[in-house]
Subunit: 313 residues, 2 copies
Amino acid sequence: MVRSYSKTPALIALDWGTTSLRAYLLDKNGNTLEKKSAPLGILKIPDQNFDTAFEETCGSWLNNGLQAAPILACGMIGSRQGWLEAPYVPCPASIDQLAKHLVSVTTKNGRHVAIVPGIKTINSAGVPDVIRGEETQIFGALKVAISQQLFILPGTHSKWVQVIDNHIEHFATFMTGEVFAILCEHSILGRTMNGDADDHAYFKQGFDYAMNENVNGAGLLQQLFSVRTLALFNRIPGEALHAYLSGLLIGSEICGAEKMFKPETSITIIAEPALAQRYQRALGYANISAAIADEHVTARGLFRIAQVGNLLK
Amino acid sequence: MVRSYSKTPALIALDWGTTSLRAYLLDKNGNTLEKKSAPLGILKIPDQNFDTAFEETCGSWLNNGLQAAPILACGMIGSRQGWLEAPYVPCPASIDQLAKHLVSVTTKNGRHVAIVPGIKTINSAGVPDVIRGEETQIFGALKVAISQQLFILPGTHSKWVQVIDNHIEHFATFMTGEVFAILCEHSILGRTMNGDADDHAYFKQGFDYAMNENVNGAGLLQQLFSVRTLALFNRIPGEALHAYLSGLLIGSEICGAEKMFKPETSITIIAEPALAQRYQRALGYANISAAIADEHVTARGLFRIAQVGNLLK
């Protein structure tokens, strides 16, 4: 059965990360015609059989007259553990550099899948940092007319990315989400937690503690113990410790990132809505205003890279 | 069978923590006549049957003519989860205050066990902190002639304790050991670790990174990601990542503690030898010299508190 599209599909765009694969069928203006999602992240695919995962997810498109549609993927699919490694491009990196360094893998059915490279930077102490996938979201969210833009991509590993004149200039990773998860699950701090009410007042209390000038210098290892003692002295109820710790860690991240990035410019948060709103609220406590990017940034970024890379027919 | 002691036992001293129970039989000068150790920490005793654990460990002493010997315990046995809660004494706290606030529990065989209270402090942000067990070690290590002394008790939860004129004046807890353990075991950082060679050069590299002025402001959540990227770019071999992370976390602790305590005075480390030496080496990298306390501080501290509290016959 051949299906007809009201607009002509121009690109199959793949957002292929560690835990999931999202596929977008885009028209020649970059609008999404169809979307598919599968729990086929690169760490979840048996025997790294990316070919089969791709066919399972996008096969219906490919068998419906789109054999010739160009395919572009971003995310961990381009890592060493992915389908084909797309080596990191150094900073400062423009969308042209990304398009120039696409790599291409050929499926068993003879289709070409282009993959966007990640980006690497080196900090002042000579230590590298990396993003992979976020570069595509950023070029999908970028407003080309604004010279200085700061992007915050919170999550398991939060990325703060500085863009100057449409180049990704430098960035830093904060392990906020992962540290939060393992502290809740595996440390003594989790033992007194009792549920996870999304309590804004206790979130702010944790945030303020992390930002407190008098205690901030002592560092996170010291601040964390407050979760224990405030529970011990019944100053925070068990069901609010989760929110307090979340505020404390996000506060620690924002406090550190502020020193690195001095955010006086346009700031955009890229994340799913609940997390984006939590960061927007936290940034507000620090008198930093930030916009939240729309949900189409990844598909749009892939489309823009495909345009610049002349992948579109 | 009644056993004879060459010197008369004057005190049964118990160091009773979360994971183990150590018992000392002390003579009237505080010297150790005998020592016992059992994996009967308060979290390891079925049904919190402390009475049985005590009899199992010290019964042979009690049945050998020491029925009347006074018994003094310190550590988590005095916590809410222990045998009897010995409420925290506020800072500044002297050995007299500790002796004045001993609590006493009577065993099923009618013996009295006195328990040393912990100490609480409140930091400048109004957040409490606590020690329990460490106060006894400190009064066992204290040199009464020295006005300002700083004690470092590294471990799962590292304690930095400032003593002024023989009073515990204030202190802070750093969750260094616990955070290290859960990062190695449960985070992405552990995935590239391959063994745990005690490599001093990589330990120092991690330490220096944490102490680096240019990166320190970014905070620990950001610094931690270096363990990932230095592995990714083959800058640190898998078997040295463990030492690098250890240096990074101990560096973060020392950097924070330096800001809180400005350690210009006599510094003493209280810990088992390998850990004490690791901290001594790390402090040396930061040009801070520290002595290591001998292994008798806990027994000596219990003896001194017993003296002040008039427990000795």
